[in-house]
């Protein structure tokens, strides 16, 4: 009894201070993320326009199954995901490998150049890409003047090319960002490991697959999760670059959700239900990714 009254033991004190440091971030996450998630879920069980909402159970989720545009937007988003993420990450890893070369001069300059696109705002770069690929934009005039194209091509007016433009834009914007993670990962790999490999007669390709990739594994997984997460929530490019067009061929899930709230007659219940589907997709993909990348057997 007496000892307890004296106060906490050293270990208890340490635990307390641990909780003390954890508390601010945890409370913030709970208030800013978990609470809205719960509210969004409750909202997704209601339906109606504007403020005239009433509970209807899971009708919004049933509605999703019949929503052709949303299903198309899922298709579009996965199209971006499947094509863009691998290209971008491979490029990022190759660039990181190149720029990690100890004998390379002006390393800082090159690294800055590759990273620089990330400093531009999403909206402005999307608008710049839109004007680059406009019918009288830079890309068209270059291609026409080089006689590669007979006449200007409406890149953003055709389904496939509009999607490809979005992918190109995404690669431009995000490769440098991922490269920075790989660079920092590479710098944690002891140079002596490479030297040992060299002595054993491994060539560059073998070193890359035998040393770099396995040792970078945690970083690769992290960038994968972040990229998947980011692509599933893709919004600015779809809104500003293509406006979801032509004929919804490039609309993303987030863009459609936004339209449901702010462009069309507002239906927040349905929009929340769709957001929840996106949330579940992100969670599942991240989970698979973690399992695949788990080195502990």
């Amino acid at each position: 009894m007496n000892t307890k009254k004296k106060g906490m033991t050293l270990i208890e004190k340490q635990r307390m201070s641990g909780w003390f440091f954890l508390a601010p971030a945890s409370i913030m996450i709970a208030v800013m993320s978990f609470y809205p998630m719960i509210r969004a879920f409750i909202l997704s069980l209601q339906t109606g326009t504007g403020v005239n909402m009433k509970f209807t159970g899971f009708s919004n989720y049933q509605r999703i199954l019949a929503d052709k545009v949303f299903i198309q937007s899922i298709g579009n988003t996965f199209f971006y995901l499947i094509i863009q993420v691998p290209i971008m990450l491979v490029l990022a890893i190759l660039l990181a490998q190149l720029l990690n070369n100890q004998h390379l001069r002006f390393k800082g300059l090159f690294r800055t150049c590759v990273f620089l696109p990330c400093a531009t705002s999403l909206v402005s770069y999307a608008i710049i890409f839109r004007s680059l690929f406009a019918q009288d934009g830079l890309v068209n005039s270059v291609l026409v003047n080089l006689h590669i194209l007979p006449q200007a091509y409406n890149f953003l007016g055709n389904a496939l090319s509009a999607r490809i433009v979005i992918i190109i834009a995404l690669i431009w914007r995000w490769t440098g960002y991922n490269m920075v993670f790989y660079l920092s990962g590479l710098q944690n790999i002891e140079y002596s490991v490479y030297e040992a490999a060299k002595i054993d007669g491994a060539n560059g390709w073998k070193t890359f697959w035998g040393i770099t990739v396995p040792l970078l594994r945690p970083t690769i997984i992290m960038t994968f999760i972040m990229s998947i997460n980011g692509t599933l929530q893709l919004f600015d490019e779809s809104v500003n670059l293509t406006k979801g067009g032509p004929a919804n061929a490039s609309i993303t899930m987030s863009h459609y959700i936004y339209n449901t709230c702010f462009v069309n007659v507002p239906n927040f219940g349905y929009a929340s239900a769709m957001s929840f589907i996106v949330f579940i997709m992100v969670a599942i993909l991240a989970f698979i990714n973690l399992k695949v990348g788990d080195t502990r057997d």
Partner: protein, 457 residues
């Protein structure tokens, strides 16, 4: 050391440029009420930094107003404020430039949180958006039925956009009568005059357009691919809508819609209509001379007149009519906007009095804004004044204002729907699909299904 110096310099430059941004915006903020701050030292305008609605106390109420176009409705509103201030020295109001989309997004956000305290007192809204917001957020609006405006002095069609039953929720501002606007120099090159395009059908329009394209390489019309209004204007000019009288989607069996889609698709395929991807591209296609014509609400003249090197080359006339539809006319309405008083208004009586004595019944006011903004009144008595019959230099001496007011008297009514933007997207999507080779019947069926889906819960 060197690095340190460089980073200090960079940081310094950044801070300075940020500060410059802040300075810039505060400049433009006060410039709206620039004249106000100058003459009324007592109004506490000195504490301009507190431009938020919280600073309302003190000497009388300061109304805040959201609207979006510097050369158009902001200029008109500023004129209104000055004129009203001449009679009411205590009056103070501030216009805050807010894009139309932002006005709507803010309203949506406020309404959903149930807290309107961040809304302005008076906000301008697109007529096409009214029904959707009136149905969704009825508590965001103030009933203006008792404002004292003689509603018979405004066209019924215009009023109906912002009405629910007999209740009024908007003070009409600009006129949305559709005009056809053509570059006479390009037409001449192809051997046509403005008369050849007056009161014609779309079929004739297409013939001329193909000829113009063959001779000059220019399109006769441009339209936005997914957000364009052209198709809807064609449909509305037939007195037809995309919904039936009960508000249900009415596309597949609607002869007018089918005829419009058919001719519109043909025009796209035959290089008469250029489909562009965004509003910027639309404006660019006009200002760079890529297209020789415009069919749009007459508010487009405001944008047009900013292209000074094309002055004297443009002339206006009626829009083409759809052939093969009995109810077809050469007249339609597109856009236009009205002012509403939000439920957050601090002084409803003052706001009502202000709108009544400017936009509501003041021909002097409409005459004053006409030459500077080109904003054509919906207030019918305004059209009888001299200012409206003055020739416009930009349009080759045509008295465009009186002409447009005349057009607005012929516009047929049609079945409106809160799902205006959904129907526009659905129809434009169908057009894209048909142009890309889809079967028209299937594409229109899909458009109808999409619209019906959007209307469902």
């Amino acid at each position: 050391m060197k690095k340190k110096v460089i980073s200090m310099l960079l940081a310094g430059a950044m801070v300075l440029s940020l500060a410059a941004c802040g300075g810039g915006s505060s400049d433009s903020g006060s410039s709206g009420g620039g004249a106000a701050a100058a003459d009324s030292g007592s109004s506490g305008g000195g504490a301009a930094a507190a431009a938020d609605s919280g600073s309302s106390g003190g000497s009388g109420t300061k109304l805040t107003i959201w609207t979006w176009d510097q050369s158009f409705n902001i200029a008109a509103m500023n004129t209104a404020i000055e004129m009203y201030k001449a009679d009411h020295p205590d009056f103070d109001a501030e216009v805050i430039e807010t894009p139309s989309e932002d006005c709507e997004t803010k309203l949506t956000t406020c309404a959903n949180s149930g807290d309107y305290s961040t809304m302005a007192d008076i906000v301008l809204m697109q007529d096409n958006s009214y029904q959707k917001f009136l149905a969704s957020y009825p508590d965001a609006f103030t009933d203006l039925s008792d404002i004292g405006i003689d509603w018979s002095q405004f066209p019924e069609l215009k009023q109906s956009y912002s009405m629910v039953g007999d209740q009024h929720f908007g003070v009409p501002f600009d006129n949305g009568a559709v005009i056809g606007c053509y570059r006479t120099d390009i037409l001449e090159e192809a051997g046509y005059t403005i008369d050849d395009l007056t009161d014609i059908t779309w079929t004739r329009f297409m013939e001329i357009g193909q000829d113009v394209f063959a001779k000059t390489g220019k399109y006769l019309l441009s339209s936005e691919a997914s957000g364009g209004d052209t198709l809807l204007m064609m449909i509305f000019s037939c007195g037809a809508g995309v919904v039936d009288a009960d508000g249900n989607p009415y596309i597949v069996d609607n002869e007018a819609v089918k005829a419009c889609v058919d001719i519109y698709v043909q025009m796209i395929k035959n290089n008469v209509v250029l489909l562009v991807n965004s509003w910027d591209d639309y404006i660019k296609s006009i200002t760079t001379g890529q297209t020789a014509g415009i069919v749009n609400g007459n508010w487009i003249t405001g944008t047009l007149m900013s292209t000074e090197d094309q002055a004297g080359k443009w002339e206006i006339t009626t829009m083409p009519r759809v052939d093969g539809v009995a109810t077809a006319t050469n007249y339609a309405n597109n856009g236009g906007s009205s002012w509403y008083i939000t439920s957050n208004c601090k002084d409803v009586a003052l706001a009502k009095d202000f709108l009544l004595n400017t936009f509501g019944n003041n021909t002097d006011f409409y005459d004053a804004i006409l030459p500077t903004t080109g904003a054509i009144a919906c207030y019918l008595p305004a059209a009888e004044t001299e200012a409206y019959n003055a020739p416009s230099e930009y349009f080759n001496g045509q008295p465009i204002f009186a002409t447009i007011v005349e057009y607005s008297g012929h516009i047929p009514a049609y079945n409106r729907t809160p799902y205006h933007y959904e129907s526009r997207t659905a129809l434009n999507t169908a057009v894209q699909q048909i142009v890309d080779g889809a079967d028209p019947a299937t594409a229109l069926q899909e458009a109808q299904d999409t619209l019906a889906f959007n209307m469902g819960q």
